[in-house]
């Protein structure tokens, strides 16, 4: 290895925000290619949480390639020009042949209405399998994963959401350079080997979620609620698209979104920011800037009509009641989170954000405890990046012959009460205290902090974490009444009623 003296002049901005009387200090670095590096030094064990977030998720897909953001996340573990292969050129030649034969199969099978010529398909399938066999000796299985594990990587994973995709590892403090090398390599040099068998893996993943009771109904509810915006489909995507998406789709997707100017790397733990910044410049800085990425075009238009859905299946009977609300950062978002908290707060069962189905919320006290209509009842406010949803969920007391429709009436009664009277000063203060305490707790876990700050940076900037706490502090009861009246109306709602199928 060459060892030489490097003198670097880096512009490291150090900023801190104050919320709940506490400072969150973040060192920020913007590379010349537009990539952002956030660093939060934290005392403790000699380890560093290293996360990379891309501003891409299922909302950047379109019909025909739904699920591709998630399939792509899988493919990011299947090697690069450097990793996962013994002889790149030899492998690439085979890989191109595999793509050619699969392209013929897809055209025959999916473009022809009769499903194509069976004998011809069988022959091509045989060719494909032979090519795959001959490629196997050239492939080094899961080399990136093995390298991370061998070097003490934990929290090793990746996840795809509607809006963002993250790649995670926590390493000993002396090994962060490994992450810089591997992550910059797969951003710039990803090479999608074993694409077709990995699609099979993802289809198995989809089947797993289909077998989770009630999930097929929930997928339909979500699709009905979001008619126009790309939140319409689930992250996993439709089965047809998983089957038919092509390698070319994958390459185009990668080249569009996996560019440094669409990416944030965040480091939380025990390290020297100046040294880490220099390292980031070296590894991530070598990747050329990509084209600017256009934000999504289609938001959710007004609904103009009440929506109702009924379903049956192998899950508990239940009610969902959903309303469209504005995205995070909107002036009404804070008041809506106070409403969710008054309706569904805590009871000490952990901290899953504002709202919930806990013991001190109005829904629990009225529907579960006093009237004994429900087994559980919850409210949550999910603003999301572009379009939001306020959701009520409740499970009726079947033993007392309560119907979901009875719960619907009871929930509307609670909603009407809030429209008229708002909530109590105690409830508002409770929501404020809880939002502040949640902010402080978020600073406690290095991994949680990396996730929150990294994702926030992609949308409204990491400082928005504190802005949101401050916004909750400013909420008044008039705000509560106003937002309840504005959003909790029939023609902004979807009511979904699910009944357990009898005779299972």
């Amino acid at each position: 290895m060459k060892r030489f003296l490097t003198v670097l002049v880096l512009l490291l901005a150090s900023a801190s925000i104050l919320a709940a009387g506490l400072a969150l200090d973040v060192k920020e670095l913007v590379l010349s290619n537009g990539m952002k590096i956030l660093m939060i030094p934290k005392a403790g064990v000699p380890r560093v949480v290293c996360h990379v977030y891309y501003k891409v998720g299922s909302i950047n897909e379109r019909p025909g390639i739904t699920g591709i953001a998630h399939v792509h996340e899988h493919m990011m573990f299947k090697g690069t020009r450097m990793l996962g292969v013994t002889d790149f050129d030899k492998d690439a030649a085979l890989d191109r042949k595999i793509d050619e034969v699969m392209d013929k199969i897809y055209r025959e099978k999916y473009w022809k209405s009769d499903g194509g010529d069976k004998a011809q398909l069988a022959q091509w399938q045989k060719d494909y399998e032979e090519l795959v066999q001959s490629e196997k000796p050239l492939i080094i299985k899961d080399e990136l994963w093995t390298l991370y594990m061998k070097n003490g990587g934990t929290g090793l994973n990746a996840s795809t959401g509607n809006e963002s995709t993250g790649y995670y590892v926590t390493l000993p403090s002396n090994k962060v350079e490994l992450q810089m090398l591997l992550e910059s390599d797969r951003m710039a040099n990803a090479y999608f080997r074993e694409f077709y068998s990995e699609k099979d893996v993802v289809m198995e993943e989809r089947r797993l979620s289909e077998n989770s009771p009630g999930s097929l109904f929930n997928e339909q509810v979500n699709a009905a609620f979001y008619a126009a915006s790309p939140y319409h489909w689930d992250v996993i995507g439709w089965m047809d698209d998983l089957r038919k998406m092509t390698k070319a789709d994958m390459v185009e997707f990668h080249d569009t979104y996996y560019v440094p100017n669409n990416c944030v790397a965040i480091y939380v733990g025990s390290f020297d920011p100046a040294a880490l910044g220099a390292m980031a410049e070296k590894y991530f800085g070598r990747i050329p800037r990509g084209k600017d990425v256009e934000p999504i075009r289609t938001f959710e238009p007004p609904q103009y009509s009440e929506k109702r859905m009924y379903g049956q299946g192998p899950a508990p009977t239940g009610l969902q009641l959903m309303f469209h609300i504005p995205p995070e950062g909107h002036p009404d978002a804070a008041a809506l989170s106070v409403v969710a908290d008054a309706l569904g707060a805590g009871g000490g069962r952990g901290f899953r954000g504002m709202g919930g189905g806990g013991g001190t919320g109005r829904l629990y006290k009225t529907l579960v405890r006093d009237k004994e209509l429900a087994v559980s009842a919850s409210a949550s406010s999910r603003p999301q990046w572009y379009v939001g949803a306020f959701q009520f969920s409740a499970t009726p007391r079947v033993d007392k012959s309560v119907l979901p429709e009875d719960l619907e009436k009871a929930i509307w009664a609670e909603v009407e009460k809030i429209k008229k009277e708002g909530v109590t000063p105690d409830e508002i203060q409770k929501a404020k205290n809880r939002s502040e305490a949640m902010f402080i707790r978020a600073l406690d876990s290095a991994m949680g902090l990396a996730m929150r700050a990294g994702r926030a940076e992609l949308n409204r900037g990491w400082r928005s974490l504190a802005d949101d706490v401050e916004a909750v502090k400013r909420v008044s009861n008039d705000d509560v009444k106003r937002v309840a009246a504005k959003y909790f109306v029939k023609d902004n709602s979807l009511t979904a009623i699910y009944t357990r199928m009898m005779g299972r």
Binding site: A15, G21, M82, D142, W145, S197, S212, G348
Partner: protein
């Protein structure tokens, strides 16, 4: 609260770094040495009035306090005709109120402070956990000890919990993964307190008096270990805790013991019918206790076999090579005082159930017959050594880890000696562990799925399933009615 938002001016930093040349491949990376020693439990151990013990760590960077009480009482102590008492206890220790406070008043106050108070009963231990901002420590502690020492189990809360839990029984056979996990344990442990299940009848049999009796018998200072971390001074906290513990009297319950003989399971296929598009599969037998000297070799062996996610053999064969599944591998579970279970597991579409099982059985066989490779050993051993400090990232989790060592009677130098024991594992020990703890010939293969397509198999690996031994059908019980469930 301050409302200012501070933004420091951009700083220009001059960075001089040595040896930071960008390398092109991982093998060129050179890492500076890093040494780490785990915290010593004795440095955190404290004793309080009436023999109450604790592991306490000051951690003053954030204005937070976490405190938990681990009590030596769990589900295993519950009588068969009151199975599920532990769930009602979990639900009502807080909600049932105390001698001087309504349950809802406790919850309201904790929530108002932005804190949390949570209680869970496990297999052999129960944990009450409080988290509050340090400014609210006194009030939080008062509520915590009131709930821990003086619960009242008011009838309305107990009845509500019973109705809620009974309603939940309707879901007992819904999720295929839950059915598989429960029935696998029933298969391996047989009829034993470890596997007793609540029914409507046993929930109905639990009365507030039963909960009070259990609390009176098992919740006392010498049967409890506290853990605390956060923004306090140890001396202050000790004085505060002593005030409560001083009036908490000890009991002397009869020592508990449970049978450690389990039925011999007939090898072969056990099938549970469910109209789904995949088979959910666990195959294996009982494992070992984590106090066994072979534990370290078994950990390394299982990492290579199917515990080390993508670096493991089962994942490579079943998922990466064949695309048969999303989730697969092998695992040894561990439980206090009993051997845990060993299982290979996979969920795959019905047609490839047989094929996936055969691939996993091949791997069981191979790790017994052939020594593992040097590269596999290196990855597994290095993973355990290099990730070791991860276990001590959170002070509260570290304190809980130490409390658990003491509660379960494990050596307190467990972590101090952990790495040298992992380092001592050799390839021969790995193979020996595989021969001793993996027995494909004795494996029970449990499948939850749709029988006909699973039994038919696929071209690549046609059925029937009795290739793997006699096929026995298991009929599920509806815990609500106690009757066998009709399948469709």
């Amino acid at each position: 609260m301050k409302k200012t938002l501070t933004l420091f001016a951009a700083l220009s930093l001059l960075v001089v770094s040595f040896g930071l040349a960008q390398v092109e491949k991982p093998s060129d990376l050179k890492f500076s040495p890093l040494s780490y020693e785990p915290p010593n439990p004795q440095a955190f151990r404290m004793t309080f009035a009436n023999g109450l013990r604790g592991y306490i760590q000051e951690e003053r960077s954030l204005p937070l306090v976490n405190i938990s009480a681990v009590v030596n009482f769990g589900k295993l102590t519950v009588a068969r005709d009151k199975a599920g008492l532990e769930s009602i206890l979990s639900d009502t220790l807080i909600k049932g109120g105390t001698k001087t406070r309504e349950g809802s008043a406790v919850e309201e106050r904790i929530d108002f402070l932005g804190g949390s108070l949570d209680f869970r009963v496990g297999e052999r231990t129960s944990i009450l956990s409080l988290s509050v901002l340090s400014r609210d420590l006194d009030e939080g502690l008062a509520l915590f000890f009131d709930v821990l020492m003086h619960p009242e189990f008011r009838e309305n809360a107990v009845n509500l919990a019973k109705r809620r839990l009974t309603e939940q029984l309707r879901q007992a056979n819904d999720a295929p993964g839950m059915v598989l996990a429960r029935e696998y344990e029933k298969l391996l442990y047989g009829d034993h307190p470890l596997t007793w299940q609540a029914t409507k009848k046993t929930y109905d049999a639990v009365l507030p008096g039963d909960l009070k009796a259990v609390h009176g018998r098992y919740f006392f200072p010498k049967n409890t270990i506290l853990t605390a971390s956060g923004d306090f001074s140890k001396a202050d906290l000790k004085a505060k805790i002593n005030k409560f513990a001083a009036s908490w009297s000890n009991q002397s319950p009869a020592p508990q013991s449970w049978s450690k003989t389990f039925p011999a399971v007939e090898p072969g296929v056990y099938f549970i019918q469910k109209a789904i598009n995949q088979g959910y599969i666990s195959l294996g037998h009982l494992g070992l206790e984590d106090t066994d000297p072979d534990y370290y070799a078994v950990q390394v062996m299982n990492f290579i076999l199917g515990g080390g996610s993508f670096t493991s053999r089962i994942t490579t064969k079943v998922r990466s090579n064949e695309g048969l599944s999303y989730n697969q591998g092998s695992r040894f579970t561990y439980r206090w005082g009993f051997p845990g279970t060993f299982a290979g597991y996979v969920q795959t579409k019905s047609a490839t159930v047989g094929y996936a099982i055969s691939l996993i059985l091949n791997e069981f066989d191979r790790i017994r017959k052939e020594p593992v490779s040097d590269a596999e050993m290196e990855t597994a051993v290095n993973f355990y050594l290099e990730s070791f400090s991860d276990a001590f990232q959170s002070p509260q989790a570290t304190m809980a880890t130490f409390a658990n060592l003491e509660m379960t009677g494990k050596p307190m130098d467990y972590y101090k000696t952990y790495r040298q024991k992992i380092k001592a594992v050799t390839k021969a020990m790995v193979q020996e562990a595989a021969r001793k703890y993996i027995h494909p010939d004795r494996a029970a293969v449990l499948i939850v799925g749709d029988f006909d397509p699973c039994n038919a198999g696929s071209d690549k690996f046609p059925g029937p399933l009795d290739k793997f031994g006699t096929v026995r059908r298991i009929t599920l019980i509806d815990p609500l009615t106690g009757e066998p469930v009709k399948t469709r």
